[in-house]
Amino acid sequence: MTLELMLASQIAILVACALYCLMRGRLFDVIVGITLLSYGVNLFLFAMGRPAPDKAPIVPAHGGALSPADYVDPLPQALVLTAIVIGFAMTGLMVALALRRKQADGDDAGAEQ
């Protein structure tokens, strides 16, 4: 079992669970599904940086030439970092919308049909 397979299978499980929750259609399940989906997607993006242990992208302070092979790709990490925070904001937004809608029509049948 390689690291890549582990990551890929974890992504697959997270996305599958997320989709199942989303398709169930109840409002709460949608929130859960979106959260799971954001885990999966973040891991997916992160995986594009070809992660490996003990290669944190922190370079020596005054070193001269360095070999990129000694570090994982920092760019996907930077993107995922902001994506995590924005994902949180989006979760909040979605819940707020749901709350407003529930107040508007009295129940959360919203996700039904």
Binding site: Q10, L14, A16, D29, L36, R50, V80, L81
Partner: protein, 913 residues
């Protein structure tokens, strides 16, 4: 310059007219405009007839090779003269036709706008310009047909016309773009000279298809003929102008214009002549059976347009001459016939052929003019229609080579000729003779003299051309045909008498049989009692519209917001397809050597935790709070995975976001009661599961395949330059605050926007205090003890962020969670430090200012500067302007997070409003 004036004058007039109130002033302005244009064209006549091409060009979109070129040669001149000449007559006619109608200025404005558009089509020297003006003619036609707007017929007719010609406009745009590519230029002159290249181009069939779609839709060729009959809902001057003489001739003009480029091939011959022949016969037969006077004329127009198209399809030089000639002739006699029909309609109050009879007694002048024009339409000798019809018969007889068509063409021509005579006969006999009028709303009499004058002018032209063709029309016809052919002119004769030959025999036969057919239909078959023939095409069109509208409704219903399961299924299937597509098409490209990394210690455990809790969270039987705890466990596993795979920054961020998310969702849950999960059948659940597994599997597969290859990454540069370029050793943080700082600025703006939206949503019901925790002593005390430490840790994380894991995002999240706890513990959202709006404003302002500062110093936005000053006590301090930016990020994250969570915490309770 003159060309530009010709092209723009009608538009200026239209703009002015739209502001006018007085009908007389409007008439004067519109008439003057048409006459000036006519005069300017007259000035050019000699030069153009001599074969010159005048051109004026203004750069328009030089980067695309598109310029506003205007160009006039004999063909364009001929059409422009038709447009402005008949335009002038129609304006005079409309002045009396619509006398007393206060909408007259608007009508003239639209008419002038149409004239401008049409002149633009004719004079355009650039393909893109041509297509643009072509669209404008469609729009002007739409507005004119819909002139009596609330009227159902007008609206439906206008809609049909716009749909059909608009579709044609799109097709023309496509054709023009391809043609420009194939010919290497959008310049008309260049394109006209590049015929061989275009015909050899592999795109030629596509160009031709799109081009013919445009042309056929505009010129009402089969199967688009129906819109023209519907367009008769327009006021009669419009019918006389647009739908007989000019607009519908735009398609013919285009056919003639591009004949040297696209014509001459077998595809052209078959497509154009087949459409022309079908239209010719269909229109001719349908015209005989119409009971509406204008309907009869409309279908006869369709038939004549088919005739011209058929001639162009024949693709012989003499046929092109005949086509150009018939364009002129048809415009004169059909416009005059429409005007005469309008007079009858105007005077009788109806134009139903079954009621309008015996008009000869009431309006002999109009009657005689109409009879002459109708005779020209039927092809009676001594009139212009006869000449061009003779040429048409001659061409049909002379056709050789293409077998079935060569045999059928003369027969079709004869049949169409007979039909033409029959409907002309009906027009004359049914309106002016055939007993007495039945149930007319008013007593008809002769129209005002000036209303009949335009008809008289046109009829006079019919006669003159018919009698002495060469002096009247010889020079412009020859020049125009020469321009249309793009080469040498064939020998032809415009003489009235060619001796006894085939065409003459056909003419005679057509005349006799046409009159006979009409007589039989009228006397023996009770033509008046016959139902209208099925307007083929319109019903299909309506059905198509209906189908489109219905499918739109269905589509909307399927995609609407509340069909979540379907949308999710689509999303999942899209992921499957995205992963599966390259596999179906022969697999991903060859695998690179696998870069298999070692599995870090405990990796398996993390994997199992993540997988088990993710699956557990999907079970609907759990309490919501339990599900949230499971989610938290999954998030923890993800954070551990980040930590183990060399992403300490991500790990920290994920950890704090996890805390914030659980807080937020718990607070939201107390206000969002979760109802029992809907009961679903096992089959349905299995289906969802199947889709979910497929979607997840596809995503995972995609990730797997992507991880097995290593493309060159820009981050090699970023790693190498993190220290030298940005003064930081933590490459992730350097990317966030420096290399991709602009990106981050956008992201924190989004964050702030989302938080503000939530704040605004829930603001209405935000309560000042949180009742439940009041009276507690321990929690506030504990918070007071812990809070300074939390703040200290946040500062620490922020300060080291540029070099070690940490940074503004992480520090901001930590601080925010601390502030939220403080606010919750104190039970008041007015906790001293949690002023989220201020945090947001300060953060965004700081980030922007940092960027603007570099702008002020003459560097691009967000350029960072850094130094490592050594301070006495603290030692070397890494100081980068990016740190200020990061501080802005921190403040925004604090503000947004506090705002998001507190918005849910301090909402008023349900039912206590």
């Amino acid at each position: 310059m003159t060309l530009l004036t010709i092209c723009l004058l009608p538009w200026c007039a239209a703009l002015l007219l739209a502001r006018l109130r007085s009908a007389t002033a409007a008439f004067a302005l519109a008439g003057a405009c048409a006459l000036v244009v006519l005069g300017l064209l007259g000035q050019m006549a000699q030069a153009v007839w001599a074969g010159q091409t005048l051109q004026s060009s203004v750069a328009w979109l030089p980067a695309l090779g598109v310029s506003a070129t205007l160009r006039i040669d004999a063909l364009a001149w001929l059409f422009a003269t038709l447009v402005s000449g008949i335009g002038a007559l129609v304006i005079l006619y409309a002045r009396y036709y619509m006398d007393g109608d206060e909408r007259l200025p608007r009508f003239f404005a639209l008419l002038c706008a149409f004239m401008g558009a049409m002149l633009g089509v004719v004079l355009a020297g650039d393909l893109v310009l041509l297509a643009m003006f072509w669209e404008l003619t469609s729009l002007a036609s739409f507005l004119l047909i819909a002139f009596n707007a609330p009227d159902r017929g007008a609206v439906r007719g206008a809609r049909a016309a716009l749909a059909v010609t608009g579709m044609g406009g799109l097709a023309l745009m496509a054709a023009v773009v391809m043609l420009g590519r194939a010919a290497g230029s959008f310049d008309l002159a260049t394109v006209l000279a590049a015929g061989d290249v275009v015909r050899a181009d592999p795109r030629y069939p596509w160009i031709l298809t799109c081009f013919l779609l445009a042309v056929f839709s505009k010129s009402a060729q089969f199967p688009f003929q129906f819109w023209l009959a519907r367009a008769m809902a327009a006021p009669t001057p419009v019918s006389a102008y647009l739908h007989s003489a000019t607009l519908v001739k735009a398609g013919i003009f285009l056919l003639l214009r591009f004949y040297p480029v696209l014509g001459g091939t077998d595809a052209w011959f078959f497509a154009v002549s087949t459409a022309g022949a079908i239209t010719l016969l269909l229109g001719g037969v349908a015209a005989v059976f119409q009971h509406d006077l204008k309907g009869l004329l409309a279908y006869s127009t369709v038939s004549h347009l088919g005739l011209i198209t058929l001639l162009i399809g024949f693709s012989t030089p003499t046929a092109i001459v005949a086509a150009v000639f018939h364009v002129i002739n048809h415009a004169t006699f059909k416009a005059s016939l429409f005007m005469a029909a309008g007079i009858v309609d105007h005077e009788c109050g109806t134009r139903d052929l079954r009621n309008v009879n015996g008009m000869w007694r009431y309006m002999p002048l109009t009657g005689s003019l109409a009879i002459v024009a109708a005779a020209a339409m039927a092809g009676v000798p001594l009139l212009n229609g006869f000449l061009s019809k003779e040429m048409f018969f001659g061409e049909a007889l002379a056709l050789e080579g293409h077998d079935p068509i060569a045999l059928l063409a003369p027969l079709a021509a004869l049949l169409a000729g007979a039909a033409g005579v029959a409907y002309s006969a009906r027009f004359v006999h049914d309106v002016f003779f055939n007993g007495a009028p039945i149930n007319l709303p008013r007593t008809p009499h002769e129209p005002p003299l000036w209303m009949a004058a335009p008809v008289a002018v046109l009829v006079l032209l019919c006669l003159l051309v018919g009698l002495i063709p060469t002096p009247i029309i010889g020079a412009p016809l020859a020049a125009a045909a020469h321009a249309a052919l793009g080469g040498s002119l064939p020998s032809y004769s415009l003489a009235l008498w060619h001796g006894f030959n085939g065409p003459l025999a056909m003419s005679a036969l057509a005349l006799v049989s046409g009159v006979g057919i009409y007589a039989v239909l009228m006397r023996k078959r009770a033509l008046h009692q016959r139902p209208l023939p099925d307007p083929w095409g319109y019903r299909q069109f309506e059905r198509l519209l209906l189908t489109l509208a219905r499918s739109g409704v269905v589509l909307v219903r399927q995609l609407r917001g509340d069909r979540m399961r379907l949308q999710m299924a689509v999303l999942a299937l899209a992921a499957v397809l995205a992963a599966g597509w390259p596999l179906l098409g022969g697999g991903f490209e060859a695998h690179l050597p696998e870069l298999t990394a070692a599995i870090p210690q405990g990796g398996i455990i993390v994997w199992v935790v993540g997988a088990v809790f993710a699956i557990a969270a999907t079970s609907a039987r759990n309490q919501p709070v339990t599900v949230l705890l499971f989610l938290g466990a999954v998030g923890l596993a993800v954070a551990l995975a980040f930590a183990g795979l060399s992403a300490p920054d991500l790990s920290l961020t994920q950890l704090f976001v996890e805390v914030a998310t659980v807080l937020l969702l718990l607070l939201a849950l107390q206000r969002l009661p979760v109802e029992a999960p809907p009961v679903r059948s096992l089959g349905k659940r299995l289906r969802y599961a199947a889709i979910a597994v497929a979607g997840g599997g596809g995503t995972g597969w995609l990730a797997w395949e992507a991880m097995l290859r290593k493309p060159p990454a820009i981050s090699d540069y970023q790693l190498a330059n993190a220290v030298s370029g940005a003064g930081g050793t933590n490459a992730v943080n350097v990317i966030i605050v420096d290399f991709r700082g602009f990106d981050t600025l956008g992201e924190i703006t989004v964050l702030a926007a989302a938080a503000l939206i939530v704040w605004a949503f829930l603001a209405r019901e935000r309560a000042g205090v949180l009742g439940r925790f009041q009276g507690s002593f321990m929690l506030p005390t504990a918070v007071k003890i812990v809070m300074p430490f939390a703040a200290l840790v946040a500062v620490h994380l922020y300060l080291r962020g540029h070099n070690l894991p940490g940074g503004g995002f992480v520090a901001g999240l930590l601080l925010a969670i601390g502030l939220v706890l403080e606010a919750l513990a104190l039970g008041s959202w007015r906790s001293p430090h949690a002023r989220p709006v201020r945090w947001l404003a300060a953060g965004l302002g700081l980030a922007l200012l940092t960027g603007a500062a570099s702008l002020a110093l003459g560097y691009p936005f967000l350029t960072s500067a850094f130094g490592h000053p050594v301070l006495p006590v603290l030692g070397e301090i890494p100081l980068a302007s990016a740190a200020l930016f990061d501080l802005g990020v921190l403040a925004v994250v604090v503000g947004a997070t506090v705002m998001l969570i507190l918005a849910f915490a301090f909402g008023r309770e349900e039912g206590k409003k």
